[in-house]
């Protein structure tokens, strides 16, 4: 197990180096520089441009900037945002709880709905339920998130008035020293109605964010279950006269879940990408929306720091999934 762990950790090092290069290079490959965007239609004289570029340190050779970036990382310094002038790490940590909260609820919905859907579709293979649910999954997978989010807002908030349009909680409630996890903060505040308001605000964005992972998980569960159901040991269990519930629910499901867990882990990356759009539509103050704003401003430190931190989170989650996989499936651990 230790060797397995060490092996997994060893993978992280080159991945991390790769990510620093990509994160650093990506935003600089985009045309347009932050000083020009700041000046806007007014224009900026070449002298003033040079002066500001120098002030920001962007006049130095690119590799010097890169090594300084990496060197600072080791001291926990991700640089300061060009627009707000605040440390990138602080900005990230302020906004990250909102993204985690939304992401966790979304992945929970995706799993709790996706797995049963896939399993039932597999059991009732070829039935109307199978065809409808897998058709729906395909539609969900191909859904443009922006459009889907707006559609839900117009229908549920605009026409029916069931859910709030956007934001994290009713403006009435305000927790200046909160943790940033609104569900927790609203509960801890003890104010009546706060928690319900936070939940109501979470419903639409989490459904939107859950849609694609749910579709993927449902399809993956179905095919994994189908494969397991045709295994000899399932047939044996059935022949023994075990109840269908025990056959499917205990023997088949446990084995079918193994690839599904990997899929869920991989969906974390997809979730981050989805969060960018979902947060923008629902005015959700998370890192997705922050990244979009930073990219459009060519806020180099925020983009490179943000990308690195997001990639770090995805890497850690994938590592945990790998480890979990090892726990569930001893064959992998002993390889």
């Amino acid at each position: 197990m230790i060797r397995f762990l060490l092996g997994r950790f060893a993978y992280l090092v080159p991945t991390f180096i790769g990510i620093t290069i990509v994160a650093f290079g990506f935003v600089r490959l985009l045309p347009g520089d932050p000083v020009l965007l700041m000046a806007g239609e007014r224009g900026i004289s070449p002298e003033r441009h040079a002066q500001l570029t120098e002030q920001l340190g962007y006049d130095r050779p690119i590799w010097v900037q890169y090594f300084e970036f990496v060197g600072n990382l080791f001291q926990g310094d991700f640089g300061n945002s060009l627009s707000t002038k605040k440390p990138v790490l602080d900005e990230f940590l302020t906004l990250f709880p909102a993204t985690i909260e939304l992401g966790l609820i979304a992945i929970l919905i995706a799993t709790l709905v996706g797995i049963p859907l896939g399993v039932f579709a597999a059991i009732k293979r070829g039935s109307v339920f199978d065809q409808v649910s897998m058709g729906a999954a395909l539609v969900g997978y191909s859904m443009p998130i922006f459009w889907w989010g707006l559609l839900l807002i117009i229908f549920f908030s605009g026409i029916l008035g069931w859910t709030p349009v956007s934001g994290r909680i009713d403006l009435l409630y305000f927790f200046p020293n909160g943790t940033g996890f609104m569900l927790w903060d609203s509960l801890a505040s003890g104010q009546s109605g706060a928690f319900t308001s936070a939940v109501r605000h979470l419903i639409l964005p989490s459904i939107v964010l859950a849609t694609i992972p749910m579709a993927v998980i449902a399809r993956q569960s179905r095919s994994a279950m189908l494969e397991v159901l045709s295994e000899d040991y399932v047939r044996t269990a059935r022949a023994k006269g075990m109840s269908p519930f025990r056959v499917v629910g205990i023997h088949a499901l446990r084995n079918a879940l193994i690839p599904v867990i990997t899929t869920i882990g991989l969906q974390i990356g997809v979730l981050m990408a989805g969060a960018i759009l979902t947060e923008t539509i629902f005015s959700w103050p998370g890192i997705g929306k922050w990244m979009i704003d930073s990219i459009s401003r060519r806020d180099y430190p925020s983009v490179q720091g943000g990308l690195l931190l997001m990639a770090g989170v995805v890497m850690i989650v994938n590592l945990i999934v790998d480890l979990l996989y090892g726990v569930i499936n001893p064959r992998i651990r002993h390889k």
Binding site: A39, G43, L52, K85, I153, P164, F174, P285
Partner: protein, 532 residues
């Protein structure tokens, strides 16, 4: 038991009473502020959240107009030679009292001098109180070159000594970057080693005091109880940051906010049809134009530029591109600005005459580039569509157009290249309501060259002499004449095709009363009330 019930009931009633009394105005703002110090930023979104709420200036724009009126200065005097501006400060002006600052004195000359020196004096510790900060408006409005020194005459009198007469100086002082901050607060922050809080937790004299900012989500303000103009009618002001215009509209319709800026043009019909809403509108202080490069042949010939302008069906462009949210432009300044010369006659749409004119100028088989901005701007909803329509119009007179575009930052930079080929679609939104802010910034000789905003590279001596003279003349009637004359030369020379002026819309709940639209495009909530 009974007593407990009674107590509970009465405290509930009290709470309900308090809740009913507190009037909260919710504004669905379009983006996050970069900070709360009004001096280092130029984005309207940022300045709405600081300059217009938290701060005042020596002089301000009278709300709803571009007239400059006294504010923190009770009165001011300009010396005969136009080189000295003496401001008498209003006595008894209180800075905000918050949980992070309690002022011990009223606003005075020290605050005024500090507010400007921190921007102009590079040796001040406040000049770079945050690494990488710069004062773009202060330098953009040429303050370092204009201000020689600022003297404290007495506690309530400040004198600005200028290096040259500068007529737009007062209008510049009414801009957000010239907001007056508390020196006492700054001193406290400096002593505590938390200078950056000047940008996080602002203290001003304005109508609203800052309460809290939850990044990218909500900004909260409270009415300033001791506001020198009298307390606001609303108790709380909340900016609910909502970047998507379609979502802002949904929030407004659902009653989650009272007022929103920048509706999507396509949503205007629905907003106007909503019986719970009012949609205010006003001509924007802006212009969209097509700038030829007047230093490159054949566009160096005024008759060629005129011929091309005559080939454009501008009305069709305004109809298609602005979709009822704009009007034709004939001058480089908008009609709401003083000195707008309504007597100027626009070039008439006449493709046949245009064709002949090109032939007379010896131009045939002309191929040119038209640059289309990749982004939507307040003055131009769709540059690509505009370019396509121009392409079609020009093809009718035998001019072949290639439409090019670059990433926005590149576009802004490359379009200032003196050797640029082709004509550029761009525009401008006024900063301070002074015609100089359009005519000199966009068409003056000093603005030509690499990095300058004169994208036509047009340097006309006669025109430039007029606007230079207007700049050092303090009499507005005389300035008006000079600018009117300059507009005639502009039209005669056609360095641009003036395309349009866009209209600004402000949808709000019918409950909102007293909102006044600012021609300068900022959003102010002074004097606003909410009907029960």
């Amino acid at each position: 038991m009974k007593l407990a019930h009674l107590l509970a009931a009465s405290s509930l009633a009290l709470m309900a009473g308090a809740a009913a009394q507190a009037k909260t105005l919710v504004y669905c703002s379009e983006g996050s502020p970069e900070g709360f110090d009004a001096a280092p930023y130029t984005a309207g979104t940022t300045l709405d959240a600081s300059g217009k709420t938290v701060y005042n200036r020596l002089v301000e724009f009278d709300l709803g107009t571009t007239n400059v009126v006294p504010s923190l200065a009770e009165s001011y005097e300009v010396s005969e030679d136009g080189l000295e501006y003496t401001f008498k400060l209003r006595p008894g002006v209180k800075f905000h009292t918050t949980d992070y600052f309690t002022p011990t004195r009223d606003m005075n000359a020290d605050d005024v001098i500090f507010s400007f020196n921190r921007q102009g004096d590079e040796s001040s510790p406040w000049h770079q109180y945050i690494a990488g900060i710069s004062y773009e408006y202060y330098s953009g409005m040429e303050m370092p070159a204009v201000i020689k020194e600022i003297q404290k005459v007495d506690d309530l009198t400040v004198k600005f000594v200028l290096t040259r007469p500068e007529a737009p100086f007062l209008a510049n002082l009414a801009m957000s970057f010239a907001s007056i901050v508390s020196k006492e607060y700054a001193d406290q922050l400096e002593a505590a080693g938390t200078m950056e809080d000047l940008n996080n937790a602002p203290i001003g004299t304005g109508p609203f005091k800052f309460v809290a900012y939850q990044k990218d989500a909500v900004i909260r303000y409270q009415a300033h109880d001791d506001y020198w103009k009298g307390r606001e009618k609303i108790d709380d002001l909340v900016f609910a940051i909502t970047t998507d215009p379609a979502v802002r509209m949904q929030k407004l319709q659902a009653g989650e906010c009272h007022i929103m800026p920048y509706p999507a043009p396509a949503d205007l019909e629905a907003l106007k049809a909503d019986e719970n809403l009012t949609v205010m509108e006003q001509a924007g202080l802006n212009v969209a134009y097509l700038a030829y490069n007047t230093t490159v042949a054949p566009f160096d010939k005024p008759e060629v530029r005129k011929a091309l302008n005559m080939a454009m069906n501008k009305q069709a462009i305004v109809d298609a591109v602005f979709q009822g949210t704009g009007q034709l432009a004939k001058n480089p300044i908008p009609p709401t600005m003083w000195s707008y010369n309504d007597a100027v006659v626009d070039t008439t749409y006449d493709p046949e005459a245009a064709k002949q004119m090109l032939a007379d100028a010896g131009v045939s088989d002309l191929s040119m580039e038209i640059w289309a901005m990749p982004v939507q701007r307040p003055y131009m909803p769709n540059a690509r569509r505009t370019a396509e329509m121009l392409q079609e119009d020009f093809s009718k007179i035998g001019v072949n157009v290639e439409i090019v575009s670059y990433e926005w930052g590149e576009y802004l930079a490359k379009s200032t290249d003196p050797a640029r080929k082709g004509a550029v679609i761009l525009g401008w939104t006024g900063d301070n309501g002074d015609p100089d802010n359009f005519l000199a910034v966009l068409l003056g000789c000093a603005a030509t060259g690499d990095g300058g905003a004169n994208r036509a590279q047009w340097c006309n001596e006669e025109f430039d002499a007029l606007i230079q003279k207007a700049k050092v003349t303090s009499d507005q009637a005389e300035r008006t004449k000079l600018y009117e004359e300059a507009q005639v030369i502009f039209k005669d020379q056609n360095p641009w095709a003036t395309l349009g002026h866009s209209t600004v819309f402000m949808p709000m709940s019918k409950k909102v009363t007293g909102y006044v639209m600012d021609p300068l495009g900022t959003h102010n909530f002074t004097g606003v009330d909410i009907a029960e």
